[in-house]
């Protein structure tokens, strides 16, 4: 049967076959790394990384070339590089091909994915050096890279969906990496299932797209669907429905309310995983999806409003929870939720470029923060409770410095990366008429600075609360771990300026403008000039000011280096005074309890009730028919009394009945 031999339909492509081969290499290398490591990794002992890490380094190099070609050299034009591998599902009218595309958005994503990915791989060499299951770890990590790259390279919705689920799988495998720990196994399962809840909507959205326009190719869909809306072939609510269904997928993957519950639990995974998957790359997939589907969202202001609302709410809620968590990684996890909320906020108001910009900067500084937290945890011998840290800044200097850079970046202190992207989001929200979004964003900015420096204070400053047994053995991590920290610190400092200056017309704007062109057109964004001395300057000042305020408050409460001692009493009294909000925050707004009640208790009861129904009613009916049959048999056998008289009487009775019957026939 002709399968691979079939000549692919000609797709408009630019770029040489070398470029295509490189795109394929981006996928093939990690996949091969996964396969090889899975098969022979166990026998490689200490060198379990020897296949996986080089593979990703090569991927990074190839990606750099492609990024350069796309963004800088413009070798593929505005449309980007598109090509077809083979026809995947040929089912009548419904055909799905394995098509890949590299355009500006993909390239920007590649920057984050491959760079952070590569660094996390290197970091893991040291971090996982003593874990007997490290070969599995590297295999999974490579598999994740494959899935994530597939996600950004896919050129149609179904292939995207495939990658979408595969990153979910990688996440499942990596969260549950320490499967002996029940909590890890539970967290892995939870992550996958909650993601599936989002995919439920995503899948339906894809089906809706196909039944509406009969294709799933990005370019076709992005042309046909808006055209149909404009021509009135489909109504506005349908468009909104499609967008919201797609957005359901984004909610799941990017852990937005109400599907955010999996991400904090996902911290059960090894820290490099948290850095790579649950901070820098996978959780951004939702943002990527909405950005990718911008021509669709452009047709539905209602859908965008929902995006904005969800983003805003998550943003506030997560920041509020981050205040009170004791586990260092959980603070970062809620911070991630909050920052993702920022991005959705931006998407919702139509500020797509700032959203992606923030995605990039956040990818680097949050990756840095997570890896830093990993280094801290490593240093204090797998302790994650911040109440049992403190004063570490002298002992693990490199970690401290890099994490401080990350914290400043996320807090939005100029000129670090976070400042530029966050400021653009806030500024655009305000200028696009979403004052309330801006206001909330400002509040969250305060909160961000506050919880980040609470974290810094409790971890690095003040007196040491480290377990006395561990205390003498605190040590800085090996170079394979600190190296990536330092390397990540560089973009955390610089990338905001590099991409975002001058404001609203930096490199990132130049790159992404073509991608978001339809959106901007549909939303009629005015191209007002940037006024540093006008409104923009004011907004900028406001956001910097509030961040600084947050930072100062945190310093005051939790200390800074040795000069400012922490004030535990003040913290305690504040906690006592605000006991209600404190408890709500500490208990994560009771979402986990609600879910437990709904899905474990009520769901379990329903399932058991249905099982009972199955056994006793449905099967009971089946067995009942059998018993009835047997019972009737038992009853009927009683007529066989063994006595000839009774038999004769029966015969005579039968005769009588028959005779009467014939009488009726005669009478008729």
């Amino acid at each position: 049967m002709p399968f691979f031999t079939e000549a692919p339909e000609t797709v408009a492509t630019a770029g040489s076959s070398l470029d295509q081969a490189l795109v394929l290499a981006l996928l093939a290398l990690p996949l091969a790394g996964f396969g090889l490591t899975a098969l022979v990794g166990r026998r490689m002992g200490d060198k379990a990384w020897a296949i996986a890490v080089p593979a990703i380094v090569l991927v990074w190099l190839a990606a750099l070339y492609l990024i350069f070609q796309t963004l800088v050299a413009g070798a593929y034009g505005e449309a980007g590089l598109h090509f077809r591998l083979y026809e995947w599902i040929p089912a009548g009218d419904f055909t799905v091909e394995v098509d890949f595309g590299v355009d500006a958005l993909t390239a920007v994503m590649l920057i984050v994915v491959t760079t952070v990915g590569m660094l996390v791989h290197v970091y893991s060499i040291g971090y996982m050096a003593h874990d007997p299951g490290r070969w599995r770890f590297f295999a999974y990590l490579n598999f994740f890279m494959f899935s994530m790259l597939l996600l950004v390279l896919a050129d149609n919705f179904l292939l995207l969906f495939v990658a979408w689920e595969l990153v979910g799988l990688s996440s499942y495998l990596l969260i549950g990496f320490w499967y002996r720990r029940r909590s890890a196994a539970l967290a892995a399962k939870k992550a996958f299932i909650v993601n599936r809840a989002g995919d439920f909507g995503f899948g339906l959205g894809i089906m809706a797209i196909w039944t509406t326009v009969g294709t799933l190719d990005y370019s076709d869909v992005f042309q046909l669907l808006p055209a149909q809306v404009e021509s009135g072939a489909i109504e506005g609510w349908q468009m909104t429905g499609i967008c919201l269904l797609l957005f359901a997928g984004a909610i799941g993957k990017s852990a937005q309310f109400p599907l955010h519950v999996w991400l904090p639990d996902a911290m059960e995974g090894p820290t490099p995983v948290s850095a790579l998957i649950h901070a820098a790359t996978m959780v951004n997939a939702g943002v990527y999806l909405v950005a990718r589907a911008n021509p669709l969202f452009a047709q539905s202001p209602e859908a965008l409003l929902v995006v904005a609302l969800v983003g805003t709410f998550t943003c506030v809620m997560a920041a509020a929870i981050a205040f009170t968590q004791k586990d260092i990684k959980r603070v970062l996890a809620y911070s991630t939720l909050s920052q993702l909320g920022y991005m959705f906020m931006a998407l919702g108001v139509g500020a797509f470029v700032p959203a992606i910009f923030h995605l990039v900067t956040h990818g680097f500084f949050k990756g840095l923060l997570f890896l830093g937290s990993g280094s801290v945890i490593h240093a204090v011998h797998e302790e994650q409770d911040m109440d049992r840290m403190g004063g570490l800044w002298r002992r693990i200097g490199i970690t401290h410095v890099t994490m401080l850079i990350g914290s400043l970046a996320i807090a939005g202190i100029p000129p670090l990366a976070g400042f530029f992207s966050k400021d653009e989001i806030l500024g655009e929200s305000f200028k696009l008429g979403f004052g309330w979004v801006w206001a909330i964003g400002i509040i969250v900015a305060v909160m961000t600075a506050l919880y980040m420096f609470r974290l810094m204070g409790k971890t690095f400053y003040g007196p040491s609360n480290v377990d006395p047994h561990t205390e003498p053995r605190i040590h800085e991590s090996p170079i394979s771990m600190t190296g990536p920290l330092m390397l990540l610190a560089v973009p955390s400092v610089l990338i905001g300026f590099a991409l975002g200056w001058p404001p609203e017309s930096g490199l990132i704007h130049q790159w992404l403008a073509p991608v978001f062109h339809p959106l901007e057109e549909a939303l009629h964004h005015g191209a007002a000039d940037y006024q540093l001395l006008g409104i923009d300057g004011f907004l900028l000042g406001a956001s910097v000011a509030v961040s600084a305020v947050g930072m100062v408050v945190a310093w005051r409460l939790f200390g800074f280096l040795s000069t400012m001692a922490p004030r535990p009493a003040l913290v305690a009294s504040l906690t006592a005074r605000l006991n209600g909000p404190y408890r709500i925050s500490r208990d994560k707004w009771y979402f986990d309890d609600l879910n437990h009640l709904l899905f474990v208790r009520v769901g379990g009861a329903v399932a058991r009730a249905l099982w009972w129904f199955d056994v006793h009613v449905i099967d009971g009916a089946v067995n009942g028919v059998a018993s009835l049959t047997q019972g009737t048999g038992h009853g009927l056998r009683q007529i066989q009394t063994g006595r000839v008289q009774n038999y004769a009487l029966g015969i005579a009775g039968g005769l009588l009945v028959i005779a009467v019957g014939y009488l009726f026939i005669v009478a008729r």
């Binding site: 056998r637 009683q638 066989q640 009394t641 063994g642 006595r643 000839v644 008289q645 004769a648 009487l649 005579a652």
Partner: protein, 103 residues
Amino acid sequence: MTQSLDAYLILASLLFTIGTFGFLARRNAIAMLMSIELMLNAVNLAIVAFGAYVPTLAEDGALIALFVMAVAAAEATVGLAIIIAIYRNRRTPLVDEYASMRE
């Protein structure tokens, strides 16, 4: 003519019914056998009556009756043999005690 035939037939039916009741009511195997003979005689009466009144049966009626008698005799023989056999086993001619097989 027909009225007379009817009379015979009614008589035969009565005899048959009496035989039937006898068969149903008696518990003694021999008595039941005798009731059956009575029923067969009732049939014979009917057949002979038909022979007498239905022209096309003029030849056959008596012939059939003779056959029936012969068969009745054979039946009685076989029956008595069987009844004797079970009497040897059970020491009773009462059929309602022959109920070791039932249900």
